[in-house]
């Protein structure tokens, strides 16, 4: 692969990996919202 392209991919990975980790954490936390256990009682 072209070394410039390789460099671009590697540098993008350096920022995408932590962002992806943050996204995963948020999605995991949000799951209970759409499950029955989220509701403590009807409004």
């Amino acid at each position: 692969m072209n070394p410039t392209k390789m460099k671009v991919i590697l540098i993008w990975l350096m920022v995408v990996v932590p962002l992806g980790w943050g996204v995963m954490q948020s999605v995991k936390k949000a799951m209970p919202l759409f499950q029955g256990s989220a509701a403590a009682g009807k409004p």
């Binding site: 460099k7 989220a38 403590a40």
Partner: protein
Amino acid sequence: MGSILSREATVAEPGFSRWLVPPAAIAVHMCIGQVYGFSVFKKPLAKVLGVTGPVAGDWSEADVGVAYSIALALLGLSAAVFGKWVERSGPRKTMVASMLCFCSGLVLTALAVKWHQLWLLYAGYGLVGGVGLGLGYIAPVSTLMRWFRVRPGRARGMAIMGFGGGALIGGPLAEELMKFFGSETSVGASEALLVMAGLYAVSMLFGAVIVRVPPEGWKPEGWEPKATQAKLVTTASVSVDVAWKTPQFWLLWVVLCMNVSAGIGILGQASPMIQDMFKVTPAAAAGYVGLLSLCNLGGRFFWSSMSDLTGRKGIYCIYFILGAALYASVPWTQGQGSVTLFVVATGLILTMYGGGFATIPAYLRDLFGSYQVGAIHGRLITAWSMAAVIGPQLMDRLSVANKKSMPPEQAYNSIFHLMVGLLMVGLVANLLVRPVAEKHHVKKTS
């Protein structure tokens, strides 16, 4: 040292790929975006002395929250004051200055926690850190604009997406670190802040090292300026000192202020709001806050990319009209008892909140040209500081007052209607935007 940081030292060498510039911007923005996740420190910092719970002498959560407000106010002020310096000095020097301020602000915050000094918390996180936020926020604006002339909205959206992602990383990272360092005698916040300062310094320096400005006269291969530009897109330049005296600047100021006020009101009250309206558990409410941050992040990229197709004025009309319709529908979703519909409606509103931030630099470039767009953007960000005060204050005061006279699940309805009003004010301001008069353009010299 000065020469390494200078604008001249950052001019791209032949063969440099412009696709290295967005990750440089994201590397800085995803660090300073930590400010959106500051709320995770609120409870721990309110029990530094008691550790298991607050005791006499501990700070209140409101005391801690003031640091966040100072930081946001300083973000706007420093962006406005240092905008011209940023344009002159180039992105690398600014990113390093931002790193020094933001990370030393975190170190001072760690010391404030260790010594339990509230003034040091305000000075560290609020004043010093806030200046770092302002510098880091505007640093990559004009650089990205110069590299990505064809789709400036998408280019800017990529960087500002990183700021939205800052909370997604900063929040969970702080929680994990406090869990790791916490003990029977410490909440672990001081150590967590020090580690975060170190990690953020590395990431921001990484951004500063890889950022480059295009050589004078550079243009994308095969690209020629369109013979006929859209009515609101100028090929001329307006200086920052002239731009801020034009009606267009202040109309955009109102546009940004209203859009941000409407979104920030939801962000600040998200957790108690969904608990009051749908009686969900605190854990699920925390998940809702995370989901809103995700929408904030996604909207920055999606809507700013869309703005390259619709034009900036058109996209803001969509934000205001669709946003108002969604706000008006929120009480109905509560009446239906549908958490899913509520989450979808408020999530969409938050995508447009993020989109508003990400689209404004391209709107400025359209109207004033790219000559000093970073500095102009810096001055416009004062609208954000103002909105950071207006939005949460409106939400706080009205919801507290309403809860005294009605059931808590209905206490937010009048607020949603008020937000519709704010968005309508923004719509009118946006519709009034016209091209900048020729007399304000910088005269071309041979």
